[in-house]
Amino acid sequence: MLTFMASDSEEEVCDERTSLMSAESPTPRSCQDGRQGLEDGESAAQWRSQESEEDHEDEDPDRYVCSGVPGRPPGLEEELTLKYGAKHVIMLFVPVTLCMIVVVATIKSVRFYTEKNGQLIYTPFSEDTPSVGRRLLNSVLNTLIMISVIVTMTIFLVVLYKYRCYKFIHGWLIMSSLMLLFLFTYIYLGEVLKTYNVAMDYPTLFLTVWNFGAVGMVCIHWKGPLVLQQAYLIMISALMALVFIKYLPEWSAWVILGAISVYDLVAVLCPKGPLRMLVETAQERNEPIFPALIYSSAMVWTVGMAKLDPSSQGALQLPYDPEMEDSYDSFGEPSYPDVFEPPLPGYPGEELEEEEERGVKLGLGDFIFYSVLVGKAAATGSGDWNTTLACFVAILIGLCLTLLLLAVFKKALPALPISITFGLIFYFSTDNLVRPFMDTLASHQLYI
C-alpha cells in the first residue's frame, strides 16, 4: 500500500476548487453589496463584473453580464454583452481542453499511470474480489471514506478562514504546491524519460526541476505573467489528475466522481454549505481569493475618460503591474486581477480612469475531476478513442450549460454536476453501446 505523507494538502487542492467564479475588478467601485471584492477559491461562480451603476442592471435583467462601466452608452453595453458571454466560454474551453489533452496524451503513452501499483490510504478497500456485490460494496465504502475526508478538509478550511488563521492556510497551500511542483513533476519527468528511453543526468534533471518548480511557486503564489500562471495551474491540475487516475481503483473512481459532483452541488447551493459560507465570508471581508486554487481567465479593458478605447478591447495580457499590489491584503495575491494596462502612448488624452476586468474563474478541482473522468475513459476501454472523445464533448457541453446558467442566475454555481453527469452518461453508454456498433461498422467498412 502506498501512502502519501502530505496528501491532505492535495486533497486541499482538489476539494474546494470545484466551481466557477467570475472575476471582479480590483477597484472597489461596485455599487452592490457583495458584488465587490474578490471571490476566494471556493465554488463560487459569479458572473460579476465591475458594477458601477445599478441602473444599467435594472434595465437589462436578462443580460449575460452586467456591465456597468460609466460613460458607456447602454446600447454599446448591450452590444458587448453576448460577445463577452461566448468569449468567456471559449476562455474556459481552452484551458480545460489543454488539461485534458495533457492527461490523455500521458495516459496513452506513459504506461506508468495505468499500472496498478497500490492505492491511496483514502481508499483502503481493495477491489480485487471476484464477486460483483463485494466489489461494489468496497467501492462505495471507499467513496464514503474519500468524501468524508474531503468534507472534513473543507470544513477545516472554512473554520480556519473564519477565524482568520491566514498564515496557516497560506502555509498549507504552499506545502501542497511545493509537493506538486517538485515531487510529482520529478516523478512525471522520470516516467516520461523512461518511456521514451531518453537518458538524463542528475545535474540536468536537478536544474530542470528546480527551475520549473521555483518559477511555478513564484508565478502561482506571488507575481507573474498571467499566461505563465495559467499554464502552471493547468500543469498542476493535470499532475493531480494523473495521480488520481493511477491510484484510484476502477469502480471507486466512478463512484467518487458521482459522489463528488453531488457534494459540490450541496456544498455550493445549500445555505449552510461550507463552500457557500466560505464565499460569503470572503465577500463580506472583501478579500481576494486563495492563491493556487483558482484559474482565472482575466481580460482587462482600459476605459478612457470620454470614449471607449477601441484598441484596448480584448485579451491584453501584460506583465503584472506592481502598483496594484497595495490594494490587496496580506495574501499579496497575484492571481487576481493581475493585469493592468498602463495608459497607451498613442492616446494622449486618455487617462487610466477605470480598469474593468471581466473574466471567469474556474476552480482547480473542476479541472482535476474533468481530467480524471476523461483520463479514466482513455485508460480503461481497450484503446478506444471514441469513448474518450465522447466524454470530452460531453464535458464541454456541460461546461457550456453551466456557464449559461451562470449568466442567468448570476451567483455562485458548482461546475461539476452537469459536466460530470453528462460525462458519466456518455462514458458508460459509449463504452457499452456505441463502441461495438462503431467497431462492427469499421471492420465492414460501412459508413453511417
Binding site: 443580460r63 453576448l82 460577445k83 471559449i90 484503446g383 457541453i397 457550456c400 467498412q445
Partner: protein
C-alpha cells in the same frame, strides 16, 4: 504500418475539415460553441441508433452470419434516419436560439441562419468523421500488414477518402437542409435523407472500392453545387471571386493601401 500511412490518411481525412475550422470557425467564439453543440447532437443521435442496434442484436441472439449482416444494414439505415431527425431538431433549437439572441441584444448581429447551417453541418461532419475513422487511424500506427489474408491492401486509403467525403457531405447537407426547412420546401429534406441513405448504402458494396468512392464523390460534388446555389452564390459571383474582382477582395485591397 508506417507513420507515413498514419499522417497521410489523417491529413486526407481531416485536412479539409481542419482548414475549414481554422479559417472560418476558430475566429468567432459563438461559432465554436455552435460547432460543439452540433457535434454533441450528432453524438446523441449515434447513441440512440447504437441503442436500437444493440437491442436488436441482443434480442435476436443467434450467431449466423447473414442475420448479423442484415441487422447491421438495418442499424445503418436507422442511424441515418435518426441523424437526419437530430439535424432537424438542431435546426429547431437554432431557430429558437437565434430569436433569443436577437431579443437579448438587438444591436449585435446574431449569426445568420445560413452561417449556422454551415456551422452545424461542419459539426456533424467533424464528429461523424472522427468517430468513423480515429480508431482505424490509431491502429495504423501499430504493427501489422493490411490485406495479408487476401483483403484489399488499400483499406486505410479507402477509409480516409470515405471519411473525407462524408465530412464534406454533412456540411453540404446541413446547408441544404436548413434552407429547405426555412423555406418550407419539404422535398429538399426528403432529397437530403435519400442521398444520405444512398451514400451509406453504397458502402455496403465495400470490397469494390472504386465504384463506391467514385459515386460518393459525384454525389458530393452535386450536393456541393446545390448548396452553393442555395446559399446565394451564382456563376457570376464565382467568376468574380476566382478572378479576384469581387467586392470583398477589392475593398480589402483598398484598405491595405
Amino acid at each position: 504500418m508506417t507513420a507515413a500511412v498514419f499522417f497521410g490518411c489523417a491529413f486526407i481525412a481531416f485536412g479539409p475539415a481542419l482548414a475549414l475550422y481554422i479559417f472560418t470557425i476558430s475566429t468567432e467564439p459563438l461559432r465554436i460553441i455552435f460547432l460543439i453543440v452540433g457535434a454533441f447532437f450528432w453524438l446523441v443521435s449515434l447513441l440512440f441508433s447504437s441503442l436500437i442496434w444493440f437491442m436488436t442484436t441482443t434480442l435476436t441472439d443467434n450467431k449466423d452470419e447473414p442475420r448479423e449482416k442484415y441487422l447491421l444494414i438495418f442499424g445503418v439505415l436507422i442511424s441515418v434516419l435518426i441523424q437526419e431527425m437530430f439535424r432537424f431538431a438542431y435546426y429547431k433549437l437554432l431557430k429558437k436560439a437565434s430569436e433569443g439572441l436577437k431579443t437579448i441584444n438587438p444591436y449585435e448581429e446574431a449569426p445568420s441562419m445560413r452561417l449556422l447551417a454551415y456551422v452545424s453541418g461542419l459539426g456533424f461532419g467533424i464528429m461523424s468523421g472522427i468517430f468513423s475513422f480515429v480508431n482505424t487511424l490509431s491502429d495504423s500506427l501499430g504493427p501489422g500488414t493490411v490485406g495479408i489474408h487476401g483483403d484489399p491492401p488499400q483499406f486505410f486509403l479507402n477509409s480516409a477518402f470515405m471519411t473525407l467525403v462524408i465530412t464534406l457531405l454533412h456540411v453540404f447537407w446541413g446547408i441544404v437542409f436548413f434552407d429547405g426547412c426555412a423555406k418550407k420546401k419539404w422535398y429538399t429534406l426528403l432529397v437530403v435523407v435519400l442521398s444520405h441513405l444512398l451514400v451509406s448504402a453504397l458502402t455496403f458494396i465495400s470490397p469494390h472500392y472504386g465504384l463506391n468512392l467514385v459515386l460518393a464523390y459525384i454525389i458530393m460534388v452535386l450536393t456541393g453545387v446545390w448548396a452553393f446555389f442555395v446559399s446565394g452564390g451564382s456563376c457570376r459571383s464565382l467568376k468574380l471571386c476566382l478572378l479576384c474582382q469581387d467586392k470583398d477582395f477589392l475593398l480589402f485591397n483598398q484598405r491595405a493601401r
